[in-house]
């Protein structure tokens, strides 16, 4: 059992509060830094892709997990980020400014989508974002002078101060560094006033208004922030795929992002990262398992989609709090070891809300 003994308020909101946390995250950092020299080149490349999807998933988590706004169109922000970045690199903009500008450009798109989208919520919001995604893909397909249309657009290798970052190791570190920066920034935002306002808007708009939170402004901010982070991931994704075509950013990609945040556990950054890891490594896992299965099953078309669906259904049924929820339960079990109460996390019925007004 662990009891906090804080002598200052700032002790209670430090990021790493306990020695064991510091040791665990220090070890994780060491492993991540050493990994490119220990693992195969293929695996390092694969990990860079996982990091990119982690950033995208973090972006969606801010919007869906923290602010409660569903988006089925986040692939469009990945696309805008990717194409914007590729185009700017082609115009001779250096790597880091181009990455930042791609993120800002997506944030502007997020603002543009956010203003009309916040007028609706729930299912209708999902439809609006879906429509946005369809329009964005269409525009990218038609605007051949900038995007190359359906013939595609080649992406220049990332270079910084004359060094190429296109190799698997260098690109791995670029993605890792940006993931850490994004993660720290979001951690800071979400434990400050802005993050609390997000949660307030998600859990009760009526109460948020009564506390002086400008609900519409908070929602639009969440849209812009989420789009910006996702756009940054899109810019990195451009380097990963090296060649952009509009059909890489379909509804399936948006759905995978939604799966990541839901399976990871809504309302937790750890969940976003765990979910992204699971979903992005799942195809590799499935292809590893395939040879072990009988031919009649392994040759079936749509295996991956089936397994994605199965996993989502199982999580929704048995663990709505996602992987993060599982993790918290496991941790509580270990921390309280001989004294763990079996029904600590038993789900109870919610109190009825009969008077929800906007």
């Amino acid at each position: 059992m662990r009891f906090d003994y804080n002598t200052r308020y700032r002790d209670s909101f430090a990021l790493l509060r306990h020695t064991d946390q510091r040791i665990a995250y220090g070890l994780l950092a060491l492993v991540l830094l050493a990994l490119p020299w220990l693992a195969s080149t293929y695996f390092v490349g694969e990990l860079a892709y996982v990091f990119i999807l982690c950033i995208a998933s973090l972006g969606l988590m801010v919007l869906t997990g923290y602010t409660g706004q569903v988006s089925l169109g986040h692939a469009a922000f990945l696309a805008v980020g990717a194409y914007g970045h590729a185009w700017m690199l082609g115009q001779g903009v250096p790597l880091l400014p181009s990455l930042a500008l791609a993120g800002l450009m997506c944030a502007a798109c997020g603002l543009a989508l956010g203003f009309p989208a916040i007028r609706v919520s729930g299912l209708y919001l999902a439809m609006v974002t879906l429509a946005f995604s369809a329009i964005a893909t269409h525009v990218i397909g038609q605007w051949t002078s900038v995007t190359g249309g359906f013939t595609g657009l080649a992406v220049a290798d990332p270079t910084m101060a004359g060094f190429s970052l296109g190799g698997p190791k260098a690109f791995y570190f670029l993605c890792l560094a940006l993931l850490v920066v994004v993660l720290l920034g979001l951690l800071n935002l979400l434990r400050s006033g802005m993050g609390r306002a997000f949660v307030g808007v998600r859990d009760s708009e009526a109460a948020a208004y009564s506390l002086g939170i400008a609900v519409s402004r908070v929602k639009v901010t969440a849209f812009a922030l989420s789009a910006g982070v996702t756009g940054l991931a899109g810019a990195l994704l451009a380097h990963h795929t090296k060649y952009l075509t509009p059909d890489a950013f379909t509804l399936i990609l948006s759905m995978e992002l939604v799966l990541m945040v839901v399976i990871g556990g809504l309302g937790s950054l750890r969940g976003a990262i765990l979910g992204a890891m699971l979903i992005s490594l799942l195809p590799t896992l499935i292809s590893r398992i395939k040879p072990l299965l009988p031919d009649s099953i392994a040759k079936q078309f749509g295996m991956e989609t089936f397994i994605f669906g199965l996993i989502l259904a199982l999580f929704v049924l048995y663990e709505p709090a996602g992987i993060n929820g599982r993790w918290l339960k496991l941790r509580a079990l270990v921390q309280s070891f001989p004294l763990y109460r079996r029904d600590t996390f038993k789900r109870t019925k919610r109190y009825m809300k009969s008077e929800r007004y906007k």
Binding site: L189, R196, V199, D203, G212, I213, A214, E355
Partner: protein, 259 residues
């Protein structure tokens, strides 16, 4: 002998009307709230009590009439700007942030005092840490006032109903209001919790100097803490006066029991 001068009203409601299509929730309502008093609004179901509260806190737009708070017209103020004027409220069906801890719920009450610029929050500058610490100190005062310390880091979703009611009261207090609206604060509480609530309301008025307007059905609480009582029925004012006067008013009796 001169009469004791009446203090200027803090909240003046005049000629207020609210209709939803053909339904008139409030018609021709006028009343005053004086600084330093506890005013109770009673009335049968559907009398328009909560609608009055919702109109003052800008959830609904009044169809007609004026609401002045410290001389400032409220009917044109944006809904989220009401808190900045020093008006706080609780809700009939608890509206807490369920997936957040008690401390985060209370800290959200401090939102109106500023949280630092977005880039300061992003970088977690020392200024933001100081703001967080001072918000935390203010919230700890509320926690102490309402005896919430056992629940400080508990998620609201895991709290019993009675505690949630207190947390919601605490969140309203954390906004540092001058005028506090309580919408049925005692509903769902047991007699002991109701009595504790009565003491708190008294302390909120006397020690914290906050004017309280409460919509309440529990007449034992109303008679224990309120200075003045307003009775409404069908959107209109029936009677005002002390709890005893209102309870014995013939119109009030006929509204509750039928004539």
């Amino acid at each position: 002998m001169t009469a004791i001068p009446q203090p200027a009203a803090m909240l003046e409601v005049r000629d207020l009307a609210l209709s939803f299509g053909g339904v008139q929730a409030i018609r021709q309502l006028a009343f005053d709230v004086f600084p330093g008093e506890v005013l109770a609004i009673i009335g049968p179901n559907g009398a328009g009590k909560t609608s009055v509260l919702n109109t003052v806190t800008r959830v609904f737009d009044a169809s007609r009439g004026s609401i002045r708070f410290d001389g400032q017209e409220l009917t044109g103020v944006q809904r989220h700007a009401v808190a900045a004027l020093g008006i706080a409220r609780t809700f009939q069906n608890i509206e807490l942030f369920e997936a957040a801890t008690v401390i985060d719920n209370l800290l959200l009450g401090r939102h109106r005092f500023g949280q630092g610029a977005w880039w300061q929050q992003l970088l977690r500058t020392p200024a933001v840490t100081r703001i967080e610490e001072s918000s935390r100190a203010a919230v700890e005062e509320v926690i102490e006032f309402l005896d919430l310390s056992p629940w400080r880091n508990t998620l609201v979703a895991g709290l019993p109903y009675g505690v949630r009611k207190v947390v919601e009261l605490g969140r309203a207090l954390a906004t540092g209001p001058r005028l506090l609206f309580l919408d049925e604060p005692a509903s769902g509480l047991n007699p002991e919790e109701t009595r504790r609530l009565g003491f708190w309301i008294d302390d909120i008025r006397s020690d914290l100097g906050i004017t309280v307007v409460m919509v309440e059905h529990d007449m034992s609480l109303v008679s224990a803490v309120s200075d003045r009582v307003i009775c409404m029925a069908q959107g209109e004012l029936l009677a005002t006066g002390s709890a005893r006067e209102v309870q014995n008013h013939p119109l009030v009796i006929s509204a509750y029991l039928g004539s």
